[in-house]
Amino acid sequence: MANLELRNISKSFSSKRRNAPETVLSHVSLVVPDGKIFCLLGPSGIGKSTLLKIVCGLLVPEEGDVLFDGESVLRVPVERRGAVLVFQDASLFPHLTVEENIAFGLKMRGASRGEQRQVAAEMLSLVEMEECARKLPGEISGGQKQRVALARALAVRPRILLLDEPFSSLDARLRRSMRAFMRALQRKTGITTLLVTHDWEEALQDSDILGLLFDGKLLQTGAPEDVFSNPVSPRAADFFGVRNYFDVEVRDGTLSSPFGSAPADAPDGRYLGMLRPDQIALLPDAGGAGSVLSAEYGGERIFYDIVPSFSANGCGWSRFRVAASLEGRLREGEKVSMSARCDTIRLFPAESDRREPRETESSYARDTQSEVEV
């Protein structure tokens, strides 16, 4: 159990394809208070996994420091740091039984056979896998493997638990139950956890603190509700799939937008306004400002792509994504009017960058080369 702090972590890799080294992490700083779950959200790529490897000691940062309870652990070798990393594919030792896998860390520490057995039994019951104690990893399912991996990590009573997209290889239903399981386990054991994922819905649900990592930089951290409702930039909002932008002008404390006017606490000038899909209401209206381009059925809601007759000057956004209930389903081509509470419009500087989050190159290509520097 420990407080984790990362200070100004920077890391770059030399790439064979490019001559210049590629910066993967750039001055990343964050704090995970004792016993909390910090979720690092970011697009698929290597930055997130690299950060986890730096925390547990498999990689060394070029700049910056890693502190457990205020003490730097950069000089502490991997095996003594006490930060355990659970990989996406569980990485169970194929030649050992489930029980032996769980007891592995203890065996390395020189624990007696009796102690190994006892702790393994404890962990097995914690993850509800008692009947599989003697089985080999090849004989159990993906979800079971993840449970064993968690048990194996917890058996050594780590100071920090690091989870690298631990459930992304599972099917949706299993993923939900494993996430709930993990949350319950974390609450019960109170282990400081740093979890990395590319799924924003999971990040919102599972975290005590949420961090947005993009292009090697930490854009924003905070409580999930804060980060979701008050993104610090359009790129941060992009993490949650928000892409509704339009021109806003502020004059004398009032903003005017295609949705109407409202008091605004911002200096005079041109701004980029943003609304989330759930903040816009649609009504069928023959003289309306928009028309339905397509409808995406989402089970509990429908997402409409609306083409507005106004467009933000120069930003090229020609579509609005609006979430609506199933009642009063709209048809393609139907004209609609869009309305919103203008005091909920989020303002960003007019020149803000609203590019799509860049998909970094496949992490698979990197994983096949060893990145370990121990």
Partner: protein, 269 residues
Amino acid sequence: MKTHSPFAPLLLFAFLTLLLLPVLVLLIWSVARSWPWPSLLPAAYSAAEWKSLFSASSRLVPVLLQSVLLAGGVTLLSLAASVPAAKALGLLSFPGKSVVEMLVLAPVIVPPLSYAPGMHLLFLRLGIADSFAGVLLAHLVPCLPYGIRILTNVFRALGDRLEMQARVLGASPAQAFLHVTLPLIAPGMASAGGLLFIVSLSQYLLTFFLGGGRIVTLSMVLLPLVKDGERAAAAVWSTLFIAVSLLFCLLMERAAKRCASSRDTFFLS
């Protein structure tokens, strides 16, 4: 193979026949006194060569001992050297890696005759010429390429993820190697070991040049017999050669299985 096509067992039978037929011919030659062409079977039989092999004055014991000790020693030494080299080549990337990979294969391309005399001169200067240690060292040259190549692929397939996982769980590099890596590369080492043994056992030129006649292995006995047309004697010693190789391969398999805790070979989840 759901439908039992008539071809499958036929193919297997043909394959086995092709493999075992020469051995059968060899065995017949070993007890043949006279086998002129075009007879299908020998005209006259004699167990004289076998008797001579197991007689008190035979060279069997010293030759066998030297061959097995030499080839066995070369195998173990090659494996010990190949593992760290293969790990580096299979898992790391560093400048000049492709050059190293090419150089590793060089002994396979360059014939022993071209470097044996030079090596002998060097060994004379070092004082290990005509000695067991010298021949052992010399045999490493043709053997290491095979050992390194096979184990490089083994490491590449294994990856380093499991060793990393062991490290974060508290294993030192030595512990991670002993408890995780070694059991998982054991089957690969057994395969490599079997091959290395045979490569060493088959060496003639190197043993001849660097052993100076003091190191007499199975190959050293065999080649003159073949050259002189002593068919039956050659057949007897060849059978011995095959038997020793097979036995060693079986032993390596057994050892690897025990090392990997008798689990399924090469499991990658």
